[in-house]
């Protein structure tokens, strides 16, 4: 029977034991992923699709040069906080 789970602040994901790394190569890659960026570094440029006031647009970070930018990541739409 499917088990009901409590709604939390992350999107529902499989239990950790179900998503074991397939090889050591994978583990190394994971380490690199977790490398934090440093203050004083240039913000890596990117171009991403976005939703803005009723339209789908493409946003490039470098277009904001000359302005102060707050870039906020969050776990997912429809999460609680």
């Amino acid at each position: 029977m499917p088990q009901e789970f409590k709604a939390g602040c992350t999107r529902p994901t499989p239990p950790e034991e179900a998503v074991k790394p397939i090889s050591t190569e994978n583990t190394i890659q994971k380490k690199e992923e977790n490398a934090m960026i440093h203050v004083g570094q240039k913000a890596p440029d990117f171009s991403l699709p976005a939703y803005l006031k009723g339209k789908f647009v493409e946003v490039k970070l470098s277009e904001y040069m000359g302005k102060w930018v707050v870039l906020c990541f969050y776990p997912g739409d429809f999460t609680f906080v």
Partner: protein, 135 residues
């Protein structure tokens, strides 16, 4: 202001139209970026690949494109927006002063700044006290 998650632009639209527009009049005024696959989150060090989501990472970027500060929280605790605004105000003041002023702990707009110079070395206690970090 730019927000980003791994959700698609279609889900961003639904979230804006059905929920956020009920909290913010007129809906979200800034671009809601779709970072499917977490590629940009990975570049910034906030992508959690086992959960497939991005942590609450907030980056302040100055007009030269330099990251001047960031804060990263795990999902269940939200950010303090007023603190983010305070930090931007402090960084703007320091930048406008061309580095002649610095903002000590507890600084808010209107409070005293420090003027770093050789004669301030060892004399900060004369112009700043611990209670200023809390008032």
């Amino acid at each position: 202001m730019l927000s980003a998650s791994v959700d698609s632009v279609f889900v961003h639209k639904m979230w804006n139209d059905f929920e956020l527009s009920k909290m913010v009049k007129g809906g979200i005024p800034f671009p809601m970026l779709s970072d499917a696959g977490g590629n940009i989150g990975t570049l910034y060090g906030v992508y959690n690949s086992s959960a497939g989501v991005e942590n609450r990472g907030r980056f302040l970027i100055d007009p030269d494109g330099t990251i001047v500060g960031y804060e990263v929280l795990t999902p269940p605790v939200g950010r303090n927006v007023l603190e983010t605004i305070r930090q931007i105000q402090a960084f703007q003041l320091v930048r406008e002063s061309k580095g002649t002023q610095a903002t000590p702990s507890g600084w808010r707009p209107g409070k005293d700044t420090l003027k770093p110079a050789p004669d301030l070395v060892g004399k900060v206690w004369e112009v700043w006290s611990v209670d200023k970090a809390f008032d």
